[in-house]
């Protein structure tokens, strides 16, 4: 639309063209220029902010990576960061294992099972979960969920703790408080649930009505129709929704910092009181006491986290954009 402005920028009042051109003319163009300038300036400012974020994170991470290990508050960087990177991925993966099936189920419930008139209201109820501040999830995790889950953890450890393979996950001794990585992952799962649900729901609702009716007309049950028409259509959308949820789970700080009783370990035990911390959780816990190069080390772990989440989010956007190309919608 910008050609309008481009074509008549250098215009002078011209006597021969009577009142079609006038002095007011240039003043008007001035208003347009200011407005366009502010708009494109704001957009550019966003790029500047992001460049600043990247510059500061990278710039302040470098000392942590180049300094001698004995000068560093937390010792050699990679051996310090690795357990947290592992914990971040592990906790987020567990959260996704719980959240994805439930979220897709809820999205289907709202889009295809609940009565039409209730559907929107039920959607709002799930969206309410997204409105709860993370610090409140943290409180709930410690206070309600952890003690509530503990009997189950004891039962799991008693019955599966000695078995091969399953024993890696369910070995004892069970944490006395229930504040294990499994509890933290459950809290994370609840937190990402509304994100995945909201996007999946939108995608399911966009299923072409013709596909659905074609399937039903062939005598399919509702579930068969969903498997034939809705899920294939929605798969890229679900993938992308899950990636966005994963990005959120990777970066979530407070629920982990509050619920988890942390240690710097790498193992898959779900029920013990020695749990791998996450990058975000560790920053929140360690930052108040960090000094000197220790701060740089924490910032460097933050950079690692940023890169992980960036990769996940970009993948999600890519999948979603491919879907747009294929579906031909919009």
């Amino acid at each position: 639309m910008s050609t309008t402005d481009a074509e008549a920028t250098t215009s002078q009042p011209n006597d021969t063209t009577d009142d079609l051109t006038s002095l007011r003319h240039s003043r008007r163009r001035f208003g347009d220029k200011v407005f366009k300038g502010i708009s494109s300036g704001s957009g550019t400012l966003i790029l500047v902010i992001l460049a600043a974020v990247a510059t500061f994170l990278v710039g302040l991470s470098i000392p942590a990576l180049t300094a001698d290990a004995e000068d560093l508050q937390y010792g050699e960087f990679w051996s310090y960061a690795l357990p947290f990177a592992f914990g971040t991925v592990w906790a987020a993966t567990l959260a996704m294992v719980f959240a994805v099936p439930v979220a897709i189920g809820i999205a289907l419930f709202i889009s295809h099972y609940a009565p039409r008139r209730l559907a929107q209201g039920l959607g709002y109820i799930i969206d309410l979960l997204a409105a709860v501040p993370s610090v409140v999830f943290g409180l709930w995790g410690i206070n309600t969920l952890a003690p509530m889950m503990r009997p189950l953890y004891v039962w799991l450890a008693d019955n599966f703790g000695e078995l091969p393979v399953l024993g890696w996950f369910f070995t004892g001794p069970v944490s006395g408080t229930g504040r294990t990585i499994l509890t933290a992952a459950l809290v994370l799962a609840v937190m990402v649930l509304p994100i995945i649900t909201a996007i999946s729901r939108e995608v399911f609702l966009q299923t072409p009505r013709l596909h659905e009716e074609a399937s039903l007309a062939l005598g399919a049950t509702r579930w068969e129709m969903i498997r034939q028409a809705v899920l294939p259509f929605g798969t890229p959308g679900i993938v992308s929704a899950c990636m966005l949820g994963l990005g959120r789970a990777l970066g979530e700080t407070m629920a982990i910092a509050m619920v988890l009783s942390p240690a710097a370990v790498i193992h898959f035990e779900l029920l013990t009181s020695s749990n791998p911390n996450t990058i975000a959780g560790n920053i929140a816990l360690a930052f108040p006491e960090a000094f000197g190069l220790g701060i740089n080390q924490l910032i460097a772990t933050g950079l690692v986290l940023f890169i992980i989440t960036l990769a996940v989010n970009m993948t999600a956007r890519w999948v979603l954009s491919r879907r747009k190309e294929f579906s031909g919608a919009n």
């Binding site: 407005f35 966003i46 992001l50 039920l122 501040p133 610090v135 709930w140 929140a284 933050g302 956007r317």
Partner: protein
Amino acid sequence: MSVTTSSSLPSEALTAGQLPKHTAIAMLVVAVAITAGVLALFGAAGPASVIVVGALLFLVAMFALSGAVEGIRKAKDRMARYVVTGFFIIALFPLVSLIWQTIAKGLERMDAQFFSYSMRNVIGEGGGAVHAIWGTLIVTGIAGLISVPIGLFTAIYLVEYSGRGRLAAAIRFFVDVMTGIPSIVAGLFAYTLFSFVFGPGTNSGFAGAIALSVLMIPTVVRSVEEMLRLVPNELREASYALGVPKWRTIAKVVLPTALAGIVTGVVLSVARVIGETAPLLVTAGITSSLNVNPFADPMATLPVFVYYQYITPGVPQDPFYARAWAGALTLILIVMGLNAIGRLIAWKFAPKTGR
């Protein structure tokens, strides 16, 4: 698919291939009752275990019954329906439990003192969060003042000016990138920025506001962009055809038409950042006194207040926990209130195009 098999239940004297309407509910009651009875015999009947085992028993029994009477396809269909409904109910549990807990434990200290005292010189009971509430309002307010104009004008640029330009593509891409920045990383950025400018270890409300702005800008851009795109092009053309310059068309026709949606988007994005804890932990910090100057000294905010009250309680612990829950309840009320306001605006002022 015979109708006369399975003699255990009274409900099978039916027309072919159909279970009566209320079979499922009856079956659910029966399954839970049986489970409760059996578990009680073993002395293991807690409410959680009865519900979980009862639900599983219900699924198995319904599958068998429906499979026998209605056929396997119908039985699968029923399973899908029950599982999906069950998932929805499962998701309600944390929501209800969390809100119930917060209300139950938060009400104890939702008193006048909580909203009129800070934590200055408080070591045990009493005290309040007035400093943290002020801090939250100031920090979020500044974040809004920074983010809304930037986000609004960026969206205007993307929708009204850019077309398919390269700058617009770059902005869209990096707004996406920005959406994915973990909140703690935004906090680290603001912290390092301010350390760089004012020296290490600087905490201030303004640093917190910068951190929140980094999180808020992309959501504002996204929601405003979406709203501007909903404004029919016909209205822009009508305005141009009246000889109205482009910027006045945007200011007087496009923005007013999209206003309700824009306000809703802004309110919802404020609601999103007002509960952020992690970035404020490393930027605004914590203090026990009221500080209304965002440019110097740490500033307490409600989420950080809740965190520290709970994580570092004094002795005795109970007054600290009570303050934490009261803070959490206040926070939830603020966030839900903002959400309600946002949706109300969207609903009440939905564009009346009359077509």
